[in-house]
C-alpha cells in the first residue's frame, strides 16, 4: 500500500470514530439525568463533530475525487465506514455511556499524543487541537466512573455491568494492519501495541480509584477498521443520512 492511500484510510478511521461517537452522544440531547449533564454530553458531541469535520476536510484534500467533507461523512455505505466498534454501541444507561466514553477517550488521548510526533504536519496539528478537548472528555467520564464506583450499590452494579459488557470491543481499537505498517515505517503514525500498554495502565489506575474490577480478557470482537461492523451501525447511518439520501445534491 502506498503512503497516501494508507494515510487516507488511517484518517478515515479517526474521523469515523469521532463522527459516530458524536452521533451517539447527541442522542442524549434532552435526555440527560440532569440538565448540566445533558449539556456536558452535547458539548462533547460538538467537540467530536468538529474533530471529525477537520479530518474529513483533510481527507478531501488528499483524494482527487472532488468529494467534500460532508460527502465523505454522509454518503458512504456501512462497509465503507471504518470506525472502531466501541463507538457505535448503543448508549445504554448513563453508566454504560460513561464507560464507553472513558474507554474510548483514554485511547484517543494516547493516540493523539503519539501523533504529536508525526511527520505529517496536518495530522500533528489536528491532534494538538483534539488533545485539548479529549483531556476534558477523559476527566468528565472518569469522574463519573469514580462517582459510580463509590456511590450507591446500584450505581456500582450498573457501571461494572457496563464495563463487563463493553470490554470485548476494546481490543478492536488496537487492531493493526498494512495501513499502520506503512505509516509506522514512514514516521506518520505509531505502533498501537505501545499505546495499548499505556492504555491498559491508565485505565487500570482509574478503575482502581473507582473500586471497579477490570474485566478479564476473554471474548474479543473485532473488525471496525475493516468495515465489519455490529448491526447497530446501519441504523445510525439510516438516521444520520436521511436528508442527504432523500434529497441528493441538495445544498443546506
Amino acid at each position: 500500500m502506498n503512503t497516501k492511500d494508507a494515510l487516507i484510510k488511517y484518517c478515515t478511521r479517526l474521523a469515523d470514530n469521532n463522527l459516530i461517537l458524536g452521533q451517539r452522544l447527541a442522542e442524549w440531547c434532552s435526555r440527560g439525568p440532569i440538565l448540566e449533564e445533558d449539556l456536558a454530553m452535547t458539548n462533547i458531541s460538538l467537540d467530536l463533530f468538529g474533530e471529525a469535520e477537520s479530518i474529513y476536510e483533510y481527507i478531501s484534500t488528499l483524494t482527487d475525487n472532488h468529494l467534500s467533507a460532508d460527502d465523505i461523512a454522509f454518503l458512504r455505505s456501512e462497509r465503507e465506514y471504518s470506525n472502531t466498534l466501541l463507538v457505535e454501541l448503543p448508549n445504554g444507561d448513563f453508566a454504560y455511556t460513561m464507560a464507553k466514553q472513558f474507554l474510548y477517550a483514554s485511547f484517543a488521548k494516547l493516540l493523539y499524543t503519539s501523533l504529536l510526533n508525526s511527520n505529517d504536519e496536518t495530522l500533528k496539528g489536528l491532534s494538538e487541537k483534539a488533545l485539548k478537548e479529549v483531556k476534558y472528555h477523559i476527566r468528565h467520564s472518569s469522574e463519573w466512573l469514580i462517582r459510580f464506583g463509590n456511590g450507591t450499590s446500584e450505581s456500582k452494579t450498573r457501571v461494572q455491568n457496563a464495563l463487563n459488557d463493553i470490554w470485548k470491543y476494546t481490543d478492536d481499537m488496537f487492531e493493526m494492519d498494512e495501513v499502520d505498517n506503512e505509516l509506522i515505517s514512514t514516521g506518520i503514525a505509531f505502533d498501537l501495541k505501545d499505546i495499548y500498554t499505556q492504555w491498559n495502565f491508565s485505565v487500570s489506575e482509574i478503575l482502581k480509584e473507582a473500586k471497579l474490577t477490570k474485566p478479564s480478557n476473554g471474548l474479543s470482537i473485532k473488525g471496525g477498521y475493516k468495515g465489519i461492523h455490529t448491526e447497530h451501525l446501519g441504523h445510525i447511518l439510516t438516521e444520520m443520512q436521511y436528508l442527504q439520501r432523500a434529497h441528493p445534491g441538495a445544498k443546506w
Binding site: C29, S30, F148, N150, E239
Partner: protein
C-alpha cells in the same frame, strides 16, 4: 415601617427605575409573579430543547449539526441561568421542576407543536427565537435585577439563534423545489404560533396591568407583537416566503404591517394542555428525569461518602 409605607417606598423605587435586588423588601405578589414568570421562562428553554433535538441526529451537514447542537446547548444554558436567577427569590430548582411535572408551572405553548421537517429548525430559530428576542429585549429593562441581567446576557446569544434559523430558511429557498416547499410549509405552520407567543391581547391578559405597574413588563403584548411582525414580514419577503395571512397589508399611515385575527381558541386549547405535543413533551421530560434518578442519587451518595471519609481522617 408598616406594610403600606413599605409598599409605597417599593413603588417609588420602581417608579424611579431602580432595580430591585434579592435582599430588598418586595411585596408577596411581586415575588410570586416573578417566580411564576421566570420559572416558566426557564422551563421553556429546557422544553424547547425537545423539538429542536428532534433533528440533531438528522441534520443535513456537519456544519448544520454543529450549529444546531451549539444552539440547543445555549438554550439549556439559558435554562440553567434562569433557574438560578429564580432561586434568588427563595425557591429551588427541584421544586420548580416538580411544579412543571405536576402541571402547576407552564412553559411556552409554542413548543407544543411538532418539528416535521428540517425547515422547522430554520423556522424555530428565525421566528420563535426572533419573537423571543423582542420579548427578552423588553424584559432586560424589567425592575428585578437578576432577571434583567439574565436577559441582557441571554439576548446576546439569541441574535445568533435567529440568524442561523433565517440562514437555513434562506438556503432552502434557493434550493430545490422540494426544499422550497419544505420551507414554505414550515413558515405556514410556525407563523401563527410565533405571533401567539406574545400572549393574549392586552385587554384580555390576566397579569398585564399589575406587571406593568411593577415594571416586570414594560411594554404591552400587542405592541411587542407588532414590532415582531414589522421586522419579520420584510425578512420573509426578502427570501421569497409567503406569510400565511391573506389579510396582511402595509398601513402607510401607522407604518405598521397590519395582520389578520389570531386563532385564540387554538392558543387557549394548547395552554390548557390540548396541543399536539403537550403530553409528549411532558412525558419525555418526566421519563428521562426519572431514569436519571439513580445518577443523581449516586452523585449525592458519593459526596456524602467523601465528607464522611474526610471527617474520619481529621
Amino acid at each position: 415601617m408598616n406594610e403600606e409605607q413599605k409598599l409605597n417606598q417599593f413603588q417609588a423605587r420602581i417608579d424611579a427605575d431602580e432595580k430591585i435586588e434579592p435582599r430588598d423588601w418586595m411585596p408577596d405578589g411581586y415575588r410570586k409573579t416573578l417566580i411564576r414568570q421566570m420559572s416558566q421562562h426557564a422551563h421553556s428553554e429546557v422544553i424547547g430543547m425537545q423539538p429542536e433535538g428532534n433533528w440533531v441526529l438528522r441534520a443535513p451537514s456537519l456544519r448544520a449539526k454543529k450549529i444546531l447542537l451549539a444552539k440547543i446547548q445555549d438554550e439549556g444554558g439559558h435554562g440553567l441561568y434562569l433557574y438560578s436567577a429564580t432561586e434568588t427569590l427563595g425557591i429551588d430548582r427541584t421544586e420548580m421542576i416538580e411544579q412543571l411535572q405536576q402541571g402547576n408551572a407552564k412553559y411556552s405553548s409554542v413548543f407544543n407543536y411538532p418539528t416535521l421537517n428540517w425547515a422547522d429548525i430554520g423556522a424555530i430559530g428565525w421566528l420563535v427565537d426572533g419573537a423571543a428576542i423582542v420579548n427578552q429585549t423588553m424584559l432586560a429593562k424589567c425592575s428585578y435585577g437578576p432577571y434583567s441581567r439574565a436577559m441582557l446576557r441571554i439576548c446576546k446569544e439569541e441574535g445568533f439563534h435567529q440568524r442561523q434559523g433565517y440562514e437555513i430558511m434562506g438556503k432552502m429557498m434557493t434550493g430545490t423545489q422540494a426544499q422550497r416547499e419544505m420551507a414554505q410549509d414550515a413558515m405556514n405552520r410556525w407563523w401563527w404560533p410565533a405571533l401567539m407567543m406574545f400572549g393574549p391581547h392586552d385587554s384580555e391578559s390576566a397579569h398585564s396591568q399589575e406587571s406593568m405597574k411593577w415594571k416586570i413588563k414594560v411594554e404591552s403584548n400587542d405592541k411587542l407583537r407588532q414590532r415582531f411582525v414589522n421586522r419579520t414580514v420584510e425578512q420573509a419577503h426578502h427570501i421569497g416566503l409567503t406569510v400565511p395571512d391573506p389579510l396582511l397589508s402595509y398601513n402607510k399611515e401607522t407604518l405598521n404591517w397590519s395582520f389578520g385575527p389570531i386563532n385564540w381558541d387554538e392558543f387557549w386549547s394548547i395552554v390548557k394542555g390540548n396541543g399536539p405535543c403537550n403530553e409528549q413533551r411532558m412525558s419525555h421530560h418526566i421519563k428521562y428525569h426519572n431514569e436519571g434518578a439513580w445518577v443523581r442519587e449516586a452523585a449525592l451518595a458519593f459526596e456524602e461518602n467523601l465528607t464522611k471519609k474526610q471527617t474520619v481522617s481529621i
